[in-house]
């Protein structure tokens, strides 16, 4: 006997992500899902973004790592509410892990929530957490072949920050190829060339992000 089912196997996660999204909407919270390889500079970008925007928005951060609280400790030093998720081996954050952090926050006092995902170019792109936008970092030492090798994250993201642009001359990074291949995958991708160490190019990212948040809050 045949039984027709037609059910998305990722539905369980999508449903939780949608519930998270509804809660974020109620509080008019803008949520970023920040993704990259390990070591591309996510935490440095979060620090820079906090310093640039903390007078304009009330910011909170969720840090995702396999283990340790090193990143959360860095954020806590800036006196920003932060929760560390230790995934204990899982290679990405999913909607349910985000939901479990909710008791730790007072969302009526948050305008911008940054979720720093586990460093990984593959899986985080496949699991929604309830974000408004996905943002990814690609650092120059990783090489310009990453869009071609890991297309999904480039397709799913709204913005790409090419980080460690100050190292480009030492690491043989083909900037034009990286940009061309990224845009070929995602024509709407907004690309910023930055250095989170020196601060180069970050004003473009901050301006763009401010516009996204203000448009959402209207």
């Amino acid at each position: 006997m045949k039984v027709t089912v037609v059910k998305n196997v990722l539905d369980a996660n999508n449903r939780i992500a949608e519930e998270n999204r509804k809660l974020f909407d109620q509080h008019k919270m803008f949520v970023i899902n920040l993704m990259s390889s390990p070591g591309a500079g996510k935490t440095s970008l979060v620090e820079r973004t906090i310093v640039a925007l903390r007078d304009k928005y009330r910011i909170a951060v969720i840090e995702g790592d396999i283990q340790d609280t090193f990143d959360a400790d860095r954020i806590a030093k800036l006196d920003i509410p932060v929760v560390q998720i230790n995934t204990g081996g899982a290679c990405h954050i999913d909607g349910n892990m985000i939901r479990e952090t909710f008791p730790a926050f007072d969302f009526s006092k948050v305008d911008l929530l940054i979720v720093e995902n586990v460093g990984n170019l593959v899986c985080p792109a496949e699991f929604k957490v309830g974000e408004n936008i996905k943002v990814m970092l690609l650092s120059t030492p990783e090489g310009a072949d990453k869009p071609a090798k890991y297309p999904l994250m480039f397709q799913e993201s709204s913005a790409l920050l090419i980080n460690k642009i100050d190292l480009m001359r030492y690491v043989d990074f083909d900037l034009e190829k990286a940009k061309r291949d990224s845009l070929a995958l995602n024509n709407d991708l907004k690309i910023f060339e930055v250095s989170c160490k020196t601060g180069t190019g970050l004003e473009g990212w901050i301006d763009w992000l401010t516009k996204q948040i203000d448009a959402f809050k209207k």
């Binding site: 006997m1 045949k2 039984v3 027709t4 196997v9 369980a12 496949e126 995958l185």
Partner: protein, 114 residues
Amino acid sequence: MHELYLAESIINIVSDHARRDGFKKVNSILLSYGRLSCIESKTLTFAFEVQSKNTPAEGAVLVFKLMPASIHCFSCEKDLEVIAHTGICPACGGAEVMLTAGTEELQILELDVD
């Protein structure tokens, strides 16, 4: 990608149906996914075999329907099936290419049950 998670989710969906419809045995489960959706059918089959022990889904054969990936090229206006998405049109080499199919998430379509 996350074959253990997917296998668990499949078993949950099948168990729900078994409870509701009262069937005893699942012979096969028909699944579909897009070619570019990062699913490893062999890994998923292995994960499913291990995890379905002592559930209503135990013993079911997973049957996969692979949905093709295709692009539309804005330079030559062709719609073409592709194996990988590189952003370059395989026909004319143009770079203004849009992916039109191939990233469909894993779905259960049909169960064969007794």
